[in-house]
């Protein structure tokens, strides 16, 4: 069994209005040293070992569903879990 932690965020070229709103709110809370905020999505997938190498499968799941690669990029970490 594997644990895949997947992070999906907007590409740099894509405006992130929610991130900007949070950035503004942090400034109102007097955290003036916050430069920028990026809001993204975090997924934890527990995956049984299958035919396909786990990283290939996670890549495929990201491309097909978890991220919209038109406007989002993703990265992930995979760890093996004890059964």
């Amino acid at each position: 069994m594997y644990l895949a932690k997947v992070y999906v965020t907007y590409k740099n070229s894509i405006l992130d209005p929610k991130g900007e709103a949070i950035n503004d709110a942090l400034h109102r809370l007097a955290y003036q040293n916050v430069e920028s905020v990026t809001l993204g999505k975090y997924f934890e997938l527990k995956v049984k070992a299958g035919q396909q190498p786990i990283a290939d499968q996670v890549d495929e799941m990201c491309d097909r569903l978890l991220a919209n690669v038109n406007m989002e990029s993703y990265r992930y970490e995979i760890t093996e879990l004890e059964d």
């Binding site: 405006l15 929610k18 569903l65 978890l66 038109n70 406007m71």
Partner: protein, 226 residues
């Protein structure tokens, strides 16, 4: 002409569309569940607005994997007309039937208002009822209607005359003021504004009728598809 209206869990403009088609335009239409896998008896498919699957993950991201969407893909590949309105447009981009994606509005606010549009291309099967460059007013109601595509795609959309509707006063930050586009073949239209909400004087205007009357008029003309 017989129109299929797929109804996803969370669709909420399906009844408006059904009313516009049946009661105003006398067009036969069926509301269909997502389990339907054969659309061969229909002449057009219109995906309604709403929040399919609660907009979970991304708007349209879950709806595109339903059985009926596989049928819509097959349907579109034969050259028959497919329209996506609002959430329907979002589903069509997620399904890869139209290029680009819909992002959160630049203002991060849900926008519900009448919007002035320019009919940029009146030579599609969805827009022949309008005059070239005609200005029309249609309601918009969306939180994620900010159209995005890269510059290469935008240049292609322009070169191929795929931009059908443009906002006169861009409300949401859309690239190129884009409010509605067709695919390269010209048989799939996606638009954020709601033509089905502008079909009666009583409800504020009839500028949306043109989308449906165009579709009706071009239904038998094979030459205008593809």
């Amino acid at each position: 002409m017989k129109v299929a209206i797929p109804v996803f869990p969370g669709s909420n403009c399906d009844e408006d569309l059904y009313h516009a088609l049946w009661d105003i335009l006398q067009i036969t239409a069926d509301l269909l569940p997502v389990t339907v896998t054969n659309l061969s008896q229909y002449d057009a498919v219109i995906l309604p607005g709403g929040f399919s699957y609660g907009d979970y993950l991304r708007s349209g991201a879950i709806a595109r994997f339903t059985p009926i969407m596989a049928a819509v893909k097959d349907f579109a590949s034969t050259g028959k007309p497919v329209v996506g309105i609002c959430n329907g447009f979002q589903i069509l981009t997620e399904a890869g039937l139209l290029p680009g994606a819909l992002r959160a509005n630049q203002s991060s606010r849900f926008i519900c208002q009448n919007s002035e549009l320019q009919v940029t291309n009146n030579q599609t099967i969805f827009s022949t009822a309008y005059q070239p460059q005609e200005h029309i007013k249609l309601p918009i109601a969306h939180g994620e209607g900010n159209y995005y595509c890269d510059l290469t795609t935008l240049a292609e959309l322009r070169a191929q005359k795929q931009i059908v509707f443009e906002y006169v006063d861009n409300p949401n930050g859309s690239v190129g003021n884009i409010a509605g586009i067709v695919n390269r073949r010209g048989n799939v239209l996606g638009m954020m504004p709601h033509p089905e909400r502008a079909v009666e004087v009583l409800l504020g205007g009839t500028d949306g009728l043109g989308v449906f009357t165009s579709l009706l008029a071009n239904n038998q003309r094979e030459d205008v598809h593809a």
